[in-house]
C-alpha cells in the first residue's frame, strides 16, 4: 500500500492498538519549558512515578525570561519562581537542561533543531502549540497539554486517535520579497483557523522544496494557526545538510545510516490524502493581518474590509468588534496604517535567515521617529552568528534594539509587552486580543515587512524598497 510521510511515521510509532480505535504512540523526543511543566513534574512526585526516559528529554526556559539585563536575574517573582522550579525539577529528575546564561539557551522550538535534537522520522512533543515547527524536518511534532506532558514523562507514550491527512501542494516561484511567512498566512487565509482541525498537514510542491530549512520551520510553525496540530515537510538533501554535525544528531557512519533510513520517509507516489489543496506561490503578495485572528489576512495592497459586506449577522458583528479593537476604519489602505512598535522574533521568525532578511531592508536606513523596534534572536547561537556576520551591527546602526534570546513580545509573559492601543508590526504567530499586552494591536508580517514598517513608520510593500 502506498503511504504518506505521516502514515510511515505513525505506523513506525504504534506501540499498541487499543480497542476503541486509538493508539498508544511512542514519543522519541520531548522538549520541556518552564510554563507548562511544573504541574506535570509535581504530578509525578505526587503519584510517586519516575520520569521514564530523561535521556529523550531536553529542557530550557524561554517564555518568561527577560531579554535585557539578564545578568541581573528575573525581577518578576512569579516568573523567577517558575524558572527556578524548572531548574529544581530537571535536577531532581535528571533531565538535560540548557541554563539561562548558556550561549545555547533560546526558544524551545529554535534550540531543538539547532542542537540536532529534532530528527526526521521522529515523534516529538512539547507542552506548546508551536511544536508543529519541528515538522520542517519530517518529524511528527505536535503540542500537548500539561497532563499529556506528565503522561510522556511517566510512559514515553501518548494515547492518540489517528488524524486525517491534508496535502498542501504549493507550486510556482515566490516573487522577491515574498517569503514562507506569506505562504503560511496565505494558507490560513484559505483554510481559516479551524480548516486544519483534525488533520496533519503535509506541505509539498516545488515552492516548498525551494524553501530553506528556516523557511520550512516558519511554515510548519503556523500550521496550528490553521487548526492543525502538526505540519510536515519531507526531508531532503537540505534537511540532512542542516542536521549534519549538530551536537545531538548521529555522527559519522551512524549519520550515513540514519540518512539511508530517512530517505525512505517521503510520501510514496500515488499515496492518498484525505484532502488536498493547491496554492500557486507566484500569485502570493506580502501579507499582513488586519484583525484579531490569524485568518484575518490581506495582501499589502488591500484595504481594511467592511463589515457591511458580510451577510451573516454574527460574523458582521465579530468583524466590527475586531475593527474597533484594532482601531481601523473600513476602506482604509493598509499602507496608511501607522505603527508604534516592531517586534522581530518568536519561534516563527527569529532564525538567522529571518534576521538577514530584516537586515537587508534596514541596511543604511534608520528606524522612523516615534517607532520602537526590537530584534530578539531565537537563541544565543543565532545571536552570536548574527553578530559575527555583521547583521547585528546593521540593525543596531539603523536604530533597532538588539536583545537577548527568548519568547519576548510574542506572548508578553515577560517585560516585553505592548501598552494599550499600541500598534505593532510583529513577526510572531498570533494576533489575538491582548496577546502582546492588554489592548495591544498586533499585525502579523514577515521579517522583511516588519523591518520595512520600522523604517517607514507605516506598512509598506517590501517589494517596492530597493
Amino acid at each position: 500500500m502506498k503511504k504518506t510521510l505521516f502514515d510511515k511515521i505513525w505506523d513506525q510509532h504504534v506501540v499498541d492498538e487499543r480497542q476503541d480505535g486509538s493508539s498508544l504512540i511512542y514519543i522519541d523526543r520531548h522538549l520541556v519549558h518552564e510554563v507548562t511543566s511544573p504541574q506535570a513534574f509535581e504530578g509525578l512526585r505526587k503519584s510517586n512515578r519516575s520520569l521514564r526516559r530523561p535521556d529523550l528529554t531536553l529542557a530550557v526556559a524561554d517564555h518568561n525570561v527577560p531579554t535585557e539585563n539578564r545578568i541581573d536575574g528575573i525581577k518578576d517573582d512569579t516568573a523567577r519562581i517558575q524558572v527556578e522550579t524548572l531548574e529544581k525539577n530537571v535536577k531532581e529528575f535528571e533531565v538535560p537542561y540548557i541554563p539561562l546564561m548558556d550561549s545555547r539557551q533560546g526558544i524551545v522550538h529554535v534550540i531543538g533543531p539547532e542542537q540536532g535534537f529534532t530528527l526526521p522520522g521522529c515523534t516529538l512533543v512539547c507542552g506548546d502549540s508551536h511544536t508543529s515547527t519541528h515538522g520542517a524536518f519530517g518529524a511528527l511534532a505536535f503540542g500537548i497539554g500539561t497532563s499529556e506532558v506528565e503522561h510522556v514523562f511517566a510512559t514515553q507514550t501518548l494515547i492518540q486517535k489517528k488524524p486525517k491527512t491534508m496535502l498542501i501542494n504549493v507550486t510556482g516561484t515566490l516573487s522577491v520579497g515574498v517569503t514562507s511567512k506569506d505562504i503560511a498566512l496565505g494558507i490560513i487565509k484559505k483554510l481559516g483557523t479551524s480548516g486544519g482541525t483534525g488533520y496533519v498537514l503535509e506541505y509539498a510542491g516545488n515552492a516548498i522544496s525551494d524553501l530553506s530549512i528556516e523557511g520550512r520551520m516558519t511554515l510548519c510553525n503556523m500550521s496550528i494557526e490553521a487548526g492543525a496540530r502538526a505540519g510536515l515537510v519531507a526531508p531532503d538533501a537540505k534537511t540532512y545538510e542542516y542536521i549534519k554535525n549538530k551536537p545531538m544528531a548521529p555522527k559519522g557512519e551512524f549519520f550515513n545510516k540514519a540518512v539511508d533510513a530517512w530517505e525512505l520517509l517521503p510520501t510514496d507516489k500515488g499515496a492518498v490524502f484525505d484532502k488536498t489543496i493547491n496554492i500557486d506561490a507566484s500569485l502570493l503578495d506580502p501579507h499582513l493581518t488586519w484583525g484579531t485572528s490569524p485568518e484575518d489576512v490581506l495582501s499589502i495592497n488591500g484595504v481594511v474590509p467592511n463589515p457591511e459586506d458580510i451577510d451573516k449577522e454574527s460574523l458582521r458583528n465579530a468583524m466590527q468588534d475586531s475593527l474597533d479593537y484594532m482601531g481601523l476604519k473600513p476602506g482604509q489602505s493598509l499602507t496608511d496604517i501607522k505603527i508604534d512598535k516592531v517586534f522581530i522574533g518568536s519561534c516563527t521568525n527569529s532564525r538567522i535567515e529571518d534576521l538577514r532578511e530584516a537586515a537587508e531592508i534596514a541596511k543604511g536606513r534608520k528606524v522612523a521617529d516615534g517607532v520602537d523596534a526590537m530584534v530578539v534572536p531565537g537563541s544565543g547561537l543565532i545571536k552570536m552568528q548574527a553578530e559575527k556576520e555583521g547583521i547585528a551591527d546593521i540593525l543596531i546602526e539603523a536604530g533597532f534594539d538588539w536583545r537577548e534570546p527568548g519568547c519576548s513580545m510574542c506572548l508578553g509573559m515577560n517585560p516585553d509587552q505592548l501598552k494599550p492601543k499600541e500598534r505593532c508590526a510583529s513577526t510572531s504567530n498570533r494576533n489575538f486580543r491582548g496577546r502582546q499586552g492588554r489592548d495591544g494591536r498586533t499585525h502579523l508580517v514577515s521579517p522583511g515587512m516588519a523591518a520595512a514598517a520600522a523604517i517607514y513608520g507605516h506598512f509598506v510593500d517590501v517589494r517596492k524598497i530597493n
Binding site: L56, S147, T193, L315, R435
Partner: protein
C-alpha cells in the same frame, strides 16, 4: 481526576467564534506552578477593566450567570495556545461543560484530562441552547445516556467511548497506560536498532 456524570446548571452564552485560550486565561496568569486558583482570572480581560473593576456587561459578572456551570459558544472554541491553564481556570470557576459547534484539538483533549466535558452539537441546537442560556434556564446533562435535557427537548450527543469511560469514572490515563508497561518495554527494546533512537549528549 474529578469524575463527570450528571450536571444540571445555568448556561453562559458566548456566541462568538474562535474564543482562544489567550482570552480564556491570559498569559500573565500562566506563571503559576499550581493547577488551582485560576478561576478568578478566567476571561480576565473581559471580566475586569484596566483598574481591575468588574465589567458589569460581561455575562459571567451578571446574575444568574455568575453561577454558570456550562458555557455555550460558537465554532473553534479553545483555539490557540496549548495551555492547560484554560480548562483549569474554567473548572476552578465552576464550569465543567462547554457546548460548541466545534473545538480546537488541543483544548478538546485537555478538557478530558480534567473532568471537563466538551460537547459538539450542530448550529441549530447550539442556538436553541443559547436562547435558553439567555433566559437563565437550567439544562441537565447526562453523560452516561449521552443526552441533554433542555426544557421539553432532548438532545443526544456523541462522545468517544474511552473518553466517556474515563470521565464517568474519573480515571487517570497514566495509570491505564502503565498497565501496558511490558508492551512499551518491548517496543523500546526493538528501537535500539535505530542509530538515532536517542540523542547524543550535548
Amino acid at each position: 481526576m474529578k469524575s463527570f456524570k450528571k450536571l444540571t446548571g445555568i448556561i453562559a452564552s458566548m456566541p462568538q467564534v474562535n474564543i482562544d485560550t489567550d482570552a480564556i486565561i491570559p498569559k500573565q496568569f500562566l506563571k503559576t506552578i499550581e493547577r488551582t486558583g485560576l478561576g478568578k482570572h478566567l476571561f480576565h480581560e473581559k471580566r475586569y477593566d484596566q483598574n481591575n473593576n468588574l465589567n458589569n456587561d460581561f455575562v459571567l459578572n451578571k446574575q444568574p450567570w455568575d453561577q454558570a456551570e456550562i458555557i455555550v459558544a460558537g465554532d473553534n472554541f479553545g483555539c490557540g495556545s496549548s495551555r492547560e491553564h484554560a480548562p483549569w481556570a474554567l473548572l476552578d470557576f465552576g464550569i465543567s461543560c462547554i457546548i460548541a459547534t466545534s473545538f480546537a484539538d488541543i483544548f478538546y483533549n485537555n478538557c478530558f484530562k480534567n473532568g471537563v466535558l466538551p460537547i459538539v452539537l450542530n448550529e441549530k441546537i447550539v442556538e436553541e441552547i443559547s436562547d435558553l442560556a439567555e433566559k437563565g434556564i437550567e439544562i441537565s446533562i447526562d453523560l452516561e445516556e449521552q443526552q441533554i435535557i433542555a426544557q421539553n427537548k432532548l438532545y443526544k450527543f456523541d462522545i468517544d467511548p474511552y473518553r466517556k469511560h474515563c470521565l464517568l469514572n474519573g480515571l487517570d490515563d497514566i495509570g491505564i497506560t502503565l498497565e501496558n508497561k511490558e508492551t512499551i518495554d518491548s517496543y523500546e527494546e526493538k528501537l535500539k536498532s535505530n542509530v538515532w533512537h536517542k540523542p547524543e549528549s550535548f
